[in-house]
């Protein structure tokens, strides 16, 4: 298995906030191009990589019937902030996606300025007496926080405009226990896992076509997965995303230890037969898996994909991650590798008539 860490570090070191995914998309496209048979972009900017399946007759050109296809969705967008107004060189922000404002004071950020420059900055907590009464104590709401770039007010107003994006700027670091920490590992760690899957498929025979999807705008609307799934119309679809790691402030059935394996979803967003096949494959290749219980929503691209056209059987596979949506997300590299390998083995396991076996009891 190749060392995925340099690629993972590279894709969490470039910008790609929801709706503005191009910088990270370019890196992913470069990495995937040699691993797929064709690569295109959707109208909204999602990446579609097609790895064709093996013809059942053994002669690809003679096989006229369309092959069934499995779509693996990993969203590549990231949560972050957007400039809402600028006062005396201080930049007020609003959120793109789910951001708990309590993690922001003191957080290093990059302002992707209209001038084309990436400006270093920090989110700051204004003194309480400069805020409306009662707003300065306890948790301070996002609308009162500001970004200081260290530049003079005139330099800021020359460079930065309302609507410019502001991204977390925590440096990726490797930490004890084979883990990596940084921002936006949700969901670039899954993009890395899907890349491992594509690498594994280079030397594996698979009957089904494989669509590798790096989707846009998952964090705000599932916009990428809705539209790409419609366009590609896969036979089945799998969302690969993050799930909650057990850790500070997080315990209970929704949380999983890091480095101890990955999770398979159970709930309305998951077709039970897909879950069953994943479990069988995981047991066969000895990848530890746990059940991730999702009583209503999976809060992944699967929620969107299952509703496309006449409906699509979907599955959710997740990698445990501590501190989701903070600047210091933390995942186990081993779990990323496990997810990639499990996906590849699952794909290779799909027989030509698998879809006919998916019947509701």
């Amino acid at each position: 298995m190749s060392d995925i860490l340099p690629f993972l570090k590279s894709i969490i070191s470039v910008s790609g906030l929801s709706g503005f995914e191009t910088p990270v998309a370019n890196l992913i496209e470069k990495k995937w191009t040699p691993l797929v048979d064709q690569l295109t972009r959707s109208r909204l900017g999602s990446i579609h990589g097609l790895k064709k399946g093996r013809s059942t007759t053994g002669i690809r050109s003679a096989d006229k019937s369309p092959r069934p296809s499995v779509l693996i969705a990993t969203h590549m967008d990231a949560i972050g902030l957007m400039v809402s107004r600028i006062v005396d060189g201080f930049i007020y922000v609003t959120n793109i996606g789910g951001v708990d404002s309590r993690v922001l004071p003191g957080t290093p950020v990059l302002v992707h300025a209209s001038s084309g420059e990436d400006l270093y900055g920090v989110v700051v907590l204004p003194p309480a007496n400069l805020l409306p009464d009662g707003e300065g104590s306890g948790a301070v709401a996002l609308k009162y926080l500001m970004v200081d770039t260290g530049l003079t007010p005139s330099d800021v107003s020359k460079r930065v405009k309302v609507g410019d994006r502001v991204a977390f700027n925590t440096e990726p670091v490797e930490i004890a226990g084979g883990c990596v920490s940084g921002h936006t590992l949700d969901n670039r760690a899954s993009v890395a896992a899907l890349t491992i899957c594509l690498e594994e498929l280079q030397s594996k025979s698979h009957v089904w076509d494989v669509w590798a999807l790096a989707s846009v705008q998952e964090e705000v609307s599932f916009g990428g997965s809705y539209t790409s799934t419609f366009e590609l119309r896969p036979t089945i679809a799998v969302a690969l995303d993050m799930t909650f790691g057990r850790g500070t402030g997080s315990s209970g059935y929704q949380t999983f230890p890091l480095g101890k394996g990955i999770t398979l979803g159970i709930g309305p967003s998951v077709h039970p037969h897909l879950h069953k096949r994943f479990k069988e494959v995981a047991d066969r290749i000895e990848i530890p898996v746990d059940n991730d219980l999702m009583p209503e929503h999976s809060s992944t691209d699967a929620d969107a994909m299952q509703l496309i056209a006449e409906g699509i059987p979907t599955m959710v596979v997740s990698i445990p991650q501590r501190y989701m949506h903070t600047p210091v997300e933390l995942v186990s590299i081993k779990d990323i590798q496990r997810a990639g390998r499990l996906l590849a083995e699952f794909i290779a396991s799909l027989e030509a008539d698998f879809i006919e076996k998916i019947i509701w009891e």
């Binding site: 290093p108 260290g150 925590t170 440096e171």
Partner: protein
């Protein structure tokens, strides 16, 4: 006029990136010792760990002037191992706990990187998000196999940066004072006996300076520190008249704080020196806060003191912001003032 160039910036970077929490100032102490040894007539590390430096002056009994800057910073101490890489910690010094979650930290001699995480927003309720998170509920996470020992110190992992006209770093308070003292020693005036205390444990009660003041028995003393600048806009657009200091307006001369009334002769002398030499300066808005001047003033039979600070925004947070110009002007105000000091200044 002295200037701030590459060597000065490189030294400040090294100082700011060091881990030097109150009571464990070894990293900064080593840098200071290495820097001062070639220039000093006397160097010693005292009983508490402060570095005390003397540069003799010319003449029979030159004015003995003590300059103080503290080597310690606010931070954390690891107090218990919860297993699986989670460590309980206590805050050392005055840190607003709202700056802690979502941050990278460095722990111990090897600067092992860890994080202070937070519950994912998905698992919180809107009511919960209205309340700040207690330090008791936070852990330093060094990874599932992470190791640390109770007693080890930790601090923010943020790295020093120069951005446009600004310094953006942890621990500008008071590494910028340490850097200024080193530069003054390298350009020591001949007319005075220059005493420097690079003191420990300022953040937890001005402890190092108290004994350093006793040791030197100076004729006068100046605490060189970094003071908060709260020059941010008011959310509702009212005038902000409680800014304490403003970035870019030069060294902040103190007149009074919670621990001292600064000696009016020294305050006046600094102001006149600034005006005469066209060095920008500002008065820190009186009240609140405290510097080592408070401890030194009361040593032995009393010492006339004044504080001069480089302003910074966002005190005791992962990233403070100061201006290089303010640093330079503080250095030059002090250098010029020292060069022009005579015993008349503090005559009884």
């Amino acid at each position: 006029m002295l200037s701030i160039g590459k060597p000065q910036i490189n030294l400040l970077e090294k100082l700011c990136n060091a881990l030097s929490v109150s009571g464990a100032e070894g990293e900064v102490r080593r840098i200071v010792l290495e820097e001062v040894k070639p220039y000093a007539d006397e160097v010693k590390v005292d009983a508490l760990g402060s570095v005390l430096v003397r540069k003799n002056g010319a003449g029979k009994k030159p004015l003995r002037v003590l300059l103080d800057a503290h080597m310690d910073e606010v931070g954390f101490m690891i107090v218990a191992d919860d297993g699986e890489g989670f460590f309980q910690f206590e805050v050392v010094g005055g840190i607003d706990p709202r700056h802690l979650v979502g941050k990278q930290v460095i722990v111990g001699k090897d600067h092992t990187i860890g994080v202070i995480g937070a519950k994912p927003i998905h698992l919180t309720t809107p009511e919960e998000r209205k309340h700040a998170i207690d330090v008791d509920a936070m852990r330093i996470d060094l990874g599932p196999e992470g190791k640390a020992s109770a007693g080890e110190r930790a601090t923010f992992a943020t790295k020093f940066k120069i951005v446009g006209p600004s310094i953006m770093s942890k621990s500008i308070d008071d590494r910028i004072g340490v850097a200024i003292l080193i530069e003054l020693l390298k350009n020591a005036p001949k007319n005075i006996e220059l005493c420097l205390s690079f003191s420990v444990q300022e953040e937890i009660g001005l402890r190092g300076a108290k004994v350093a003041g006793y040791y030197f028995n100076p004729d006068l003393a100046i605490a060189v520190d970094s003071t908060p600048s709260r020059d941010l806009p008011d959310f509702d657009g009212r005038e902000n008249y409680t800014y304490n200091t403003k970035l870019g307006f030069g060294p902040a001369i103190y007149m009074a704080n919670s621990s001292t009334i600064d000696d009016p002769r020294l305050v006046k002398f600094l102001e006149e020196t600034a005006i005469k030499n066209k060095i920008p300066y500002q008065f820190r808005q009186p009240g609140g806060g405290g510097t080592n001047a408070g401890a030194i003033q009361q040593s032995r039979a009393g010492v006339p003191v004044v504080s001069v600070s480089v302003p910074h925004r966002y005190t005791h947070s992962p990233v403070s912001v100061s201006r290089v110009e303010d640093w330079k002007n503080t250095l030059n105000l002090l250098h010029t003032a020292l060069n022009n000091m005579t015993p008349e200044l503090v005559k009884r």
